[in-house]
């Protein structure tokens, strides 16, 4: 165990120097440097906001089932079968049919080629499950159908969330999918996520609809509340324009009324429809509905053919800016709920960095002095290896541009504490060997050999814990397990290559002397 070839010595030296070099790039702020990679600071150290959003797919599911009613009715109408009593409750659709047709309906649903199963050819599975209960059929989304629906609404929601956040212009946001109905948003440097939270909390479903007084509207009508008062108005379900028809929206100052408004421009289809509606509906009230609440319901005075208009509704400049932003970036497919939020202010982050570094330095110095006191010259060797170990660890984190969190720093400190373990095992063993063996070289050699299994076993068990933490843990725990896990490898390298090399150099120069460990 004591022989090192020249090549090996050169390799070890080069690797050590390489990592010292790389670690040092964290200290400079230059971009044209050969290695401009740096360790990222986690949100807990640089400050920022972490938001976990969950998509509430209930409305999407109910909407899809609602659409299904029409297509089912039409499909079976062609076969002269009447379906009755359509009802949507609790994310499932129920209907009834005359007894004699039950068999037919059931067969149609299970038929893989029937056109009410458009999913089958593509996914080899049904979009819906059908069950017969009492005299009714109940249709539910199948597993596959639900996954399909969730993934697609997640994709859309992700895109809209990204647009909204980009519009606000925070630096380097991180927007990721989690599972199939969650979105993770990390916003470094943001210490007050209030505005983003309120922007993400809105679906921004905009519609223009007529206010009707008679209940005989062929599309049906519903009672909606005004945004700022408790008044209600009866609004037709017929949608004249929706947010999809908007090309642009901007906050403006109306010079006549001195009011803040949101002005919008429509696309060609939208402009045509808007023109038609305003020409036929002069004198009527057109309600502007956002997320089920009426913002305002102005009376149409004139035909608007230009394809642009204004929304007024007692906005402040801030609220007009936000509404314009929401309209520009489009509507979410479903409402988002914030189910987890963690925000750290920048000054706490800086305090944590300072505290972490102080703890690291103090812990390091204490360990170094203790080891020197305990092992003298070999303590010095251990300490050199320990310092290089730190550089290796930081270097590897730098190469992978890993994210350093506060628990991550704790992991590094813990690595410092535990890294000496392997050296201690070796030196204690050598001590024992020296008692019976006069030849230094043999004693050292067997010291290294005999302690090897214990060191490997010990490190593998810790590594197991680190790996589990890395894959099972979330956020801060991941950071801790990363430094702990990488630390195990760098520790083994520093013990078996650096410390051993230095030990070999020392004892080969002092072969004849009486060496004490």
């Amino acid at each position: 165990m004591l022989y090192f070839s020249k090549l090996r010595i050169i390799c070890i030296t080069l690797i050590s120097l390489f990592f010292i070099f790389i670690s040092s790039s964290n200290l400079f702020n230059s971009n044209n440097f050969l290695f401009d990679k740096k360790i990222n600071l986690g949100l807990d150290l640089q400050g920022g906001s972490y938001l976990l959003l969950e998509i509430d797919n209930t409305p999407v599911i109910e909407q899809k089932l609602q659409n299904q009613i029409i297509s089912l009715r039409n499909y079976f109408k062609e076969q002269k079968i009447r379906l009755n009593n359509f009802k949507i409750t609790d994310q499932s659709l129920s209907f009834s049919v005359k007894k004699e047709f039950k068999e037919v309906v059931l067969n149609e649903f299970q038929n893989e080629e029937s056109s009410i199963n458009p999913y089958y050819p593509r996914f080899k599975s049904h979009q819906f499950d059908i069950i017969e209960k009492e005299n009714n059929f109940i249709i539910n989304f199948s597993r596959q159908g639900l996954v399909e629906l969730k993934t697609s609404s997640q994709d859309q929601a992700l895109e809209i969330v990204r647009r909204r956040i980009d519009e606000i212009g925070t630096n380097e946001p991180n927007i990721l999918k989690r599972g199939n109905d969650r979105i993770l948003v990390e916003l470094p440097g943001l210490d007050d996520p209030m505005r983003i939270k309120s922007l993400l909390g809105k679906t921004a479903n905009l519609t223009f609809r007529f206010v009707t007084n008679n209940n005989e509207d062929s599309f049906g009508s519903e009672k909606l509340k005004y945004e700022d008062t408790n008044e209600e108005a009866n609004v037709s379900k017929r949608i004249i324009l929706s947010g999809e028809n908007l090309l642009d929206a901007q906050p403006r100052m109306n010079s006549e009324t001195n009011e803040t408004v949101v002005s919008f421009t429509l696309d060609r289809v939208g402009a045509k429809r808007f023109g038609k509606a305003t020409s036929t509906g002069i004198g009527k009230q057109l309600a502007i509905v956002l997320d089920g609440k009426i913002i305002s319901a102005p009376v149409i005075r004139d035909t608007i053919a230009s394809g642009s208009g204004q929304i007024s509704g007692g906005f402040t400049f801030q609220s007009a800016t936000d509404l314009a932003l929401l309209l520009r970036s489009g509507a979410l497919p479903a409402p988002l709920n914030i189910i987890e939020e963690r925000t750290v202010g920048p000054d706490l982050g800086q305090d944590s960095i300072n505290a972490g570094i102080i703890a690291l330095i103090i812990g390091f110095v204490l360990v170094i002095f203790f080891i020197i006191f305990k092992y003298k010259i070999f303590g010095l060797i251990t300490n050199i290896a320990l310092i290089i170990n730190l550089f290796l660890l930081v270097g590897i984190l730098t190469i992978f541009e890993a994210t350093l969190t506060l628990p991550g720093i704790a992991g590094i400190i813990l690595t410092v504490g535990m890294a000496v373990d392997a050296n201690v095992l070796i030196f204690e063993r050598i001590k024992e060997e020296l008692k019976n063996e006069k030849n230094n070289l043999i004693a050292f050699d067997s010291g290294y050999t005999k302690s090897r299994t214990a060191i490997l076993d010990a490190n593998i068990t810790t590594l197991l814990a680190a790996i589990i933490l890395f894959f099972m843990g979330s956020g801060p725990i991941k950071g801790f397990s990363l430094t702990l896990g990488v630390g195990i490898f760098t520790t083994l390298f520093s013990v078996y290559f650096i410390a051993r090399l230095l030990t070999v150099i020392y004892i080969s120069r002092n072969k004849e002397r009486d060496i004490r460990v």
Partner: protein
């Protein structure tokens, strides 16, 4: 040579009672789960007005009827930690902010806000329990492969002892259990295993070396031979941990405290639990013969 084996029985009784007390505490007193596992809202505030204290702050917050609200100093006199169960009222933080501004002027800065919904906290708790269980099982398997089953049992009993007693102590002192405590517990598991493995490795070696010494004596020899390593490693690890505890800031306090307990229990259990299991199972030279063939 220290006769550790003289106290095997006494310390076994001590450990048994510690574990039973801890279990009773865990069952009847329970753990003080933080918002990570219970759900709720946590706010860390710093005031620049040193007249504001915990009770004035609490009175102010009680106006908002947020339910059971806890207000504590955090680290020093001007830092406060507020915790409450959030019934998902949406703008509660904004509300608190404006209420504080109204009563105290602009004297607070919000240093940290954490809000964990009930669904997420339930998931975090579940994944924490799963992580610890998987870790224990994997290590059991690893030790089983590397040693005989008697050793594996000894190591696992030592691990359970450490984890249960550490959690019991957290329950006794009402210290908060959060995500970083799970990390600490897993590291304790790793550390305790590490310690046990080193002594077991020596026991196995000595079983081969001395054919006529009974396991009762043999464990004692092995403990003594590895004692200085055990102590030095514990001391260096504790040095690092104490430095995190005292200088690493408030947030790492719980984590480092759990680790400190764990290292102490881990060192103790490798000597007095892992080894006594070998003695009680009557491990002899024959036990490892199979392996040598």
């Amino acid at each position: 040579m220290i006769s550790f084996n003289k106290y095997y029985n006494k310390f076994n009784i001590l450990s048994l009672s510690l574990v039973s007390i801890s279990l009773l505490l865990l069952i009847f007193k329970g753990l003080n789960f933080g918002i990570d596992f219970k759900g709720g809202t946590l706010i860390e505030l710093r005031s620049n007005d040193n007249k504001i204290n915990v009770s004035t702050l609490r009175d102010n917050l009680n106006q908002l009827s947020l339910g059971d609200i806890s207000v504590k100093n955090f680290g020093n006199e001007t830092d406060f930690l507020i915790k409450f169960e959030n019934d998902s009222k949406k703008n509660v933080i904004e509300e608190i902010k404006s209420n504080l501004d109204k009563s105290f002027g602009n004297s607070f800065s919000f240093r940290r806000v954490e809000n964990v919904g009930p669904k997420v906290s339930a998931e975090l708790l579940k994944s924490g329990v799963i992580a610890i269980s998987i870790a224990l099982i994997l290590m059991l398997i690893y030790i089983w492969i590397r040693f005989e089953w008697q050793f594996s049992l000894g190591a696992i009993l030592a691990l359970f002892h450490d984890v249960i007693v550490t959690l019991g102590l957290f329950s006794l002192l009402s210290l908060e259990i959060n995500l970083s405590i799970v990390a600490a517990v897993l590291t304790i598991v790793g550390y305790s295993m590490n310690d046990t493995v080193v002594i077991f490795d020596r026991v196995r070696e000595n079983l081969r070396k001395y054919s006529d010494i009974k396991i009762y004596e043999l464990t004692n020899i092995s403990i003594n031979e590895t004692l200085s390593r055990t102590l030095i490693t514990s001391i260096t690890t504790l040095l690092a941990l104490f430095s995190i505890f005292f200088f690493g800031g408030e947030i790492l306090k719980g984590f480092s405290l759990a680790m400190i307990f764990g290292v102490i229990f881990g060192t103790y259990s490798s000597i007095y639990i892992a080894n006594t299991v070998l003695v009680r199972l009557n491990v002899s030279q024959k036990t490892i013969l199979k392996e040598d063939k």
